[in-house]
Symmetry: C2
Subunit: 162 residues, 2 copies
């Protein structure tokens, strides 16, 4: 019998987190995009300001998955929400409900902190994920599209009518 434990990541888990982030990127064939290092994760997640937090899922003591989240904010509600940035379970550990355990713990964290909105994003072609999220009762915000500004365009905007 296997035991699944979901726990909050601490600063000592930075190497484990980075390994899981790299496994996620490899799974998505995006390894070349990973520039995070142990130093940047330590500084941004466990420094003077915690920009993000993470949960780690372990099977018999071995880390097999993680969820990384931060707090969003709703102007209409006037309160923070919980935003799940990444959820990943190693392929060999799937179909054992570990993703659900991570999601369930996130829902408890959200409600425990007074957040009435739990949100995340999904790729339109990820049918497995979409069907999982539909079963949870999530509502797709289909009318909205995220816009991203980076690099030279971001610097150009920063220089506009200073």
């Amino acid at each position: 019998m296997t035991t699944v434990v979901v726990r909050s990541a601490a600063v000592g888990d930075v190497p484990v987190l980075l390994a899981l982030i790299r496994a996620l990127a490899e799974f998505e064939k995006l390894s070349h995009q990973v520039v995070a290092t142990e130093a940047t994760l330590k500084a941004s997640m466990f420094g003077s300001r915690q920009y993000a937090e993470a949960l780690i899922a372990e099977v018999d003591g071995a880390p097999v998955g993680f969820a990384l989240f931060f707090h969003s904010f709703s102007t209409f509600l006037g309160e923070p929400g919980l935003y799940l940035e990444d959820l990943f379970v190693r392929p060999e550990a799937r179909s054992h409900g570990i993703g659900l355990q991570l999601m369930s713990e996130l829902a408890r964290v959200a409600l425990g902190r007074g957040c009435r909105r739990f949100e995340w994003s999904v790729l339109d072609w990820n049918e497995r994920a979409l069907s999982f999220y539909r079963r949870l009762g999530a509502e797709p915000m289909a009318e909205w599209t995220v816009q991203r500004l980076t690099g030279a365009a971001l610097e150009r905007l920063a220089s506009a009518n200073g």
Copy 2:
């Protein structure tokens, strides 16, 4: 000649912020969704943890617009990003570049804090906004859809395999 000033909101601006949030909701015909109060905004934006920050745009000393933002996080970059939750300029103050001044100041805040990603969401039918964002060089993350869990579904998930 009018003078436009963009400045950071302080705790004394909570009544101004709430009035602008209500004006935004009215413009979107969503006034019934606003449950934020001065007390909730004060607690969540100027309390022990700042869940969101805001910029206020003033014309000749009168507040005419605001931008409310928080920090997102990129696992691959291992660093925070800046996420703009709401941008609003009162209809009577539009077409004077105030939205651009708010966006430009947000870009400076992002780069000043080491955030290489500046993101926000837009309604698919908001052509005026979409064309403004395209001119800025923003990339639409068209493959992604936000999923939102609230109310009874959120409580159900929190109670799953506790």
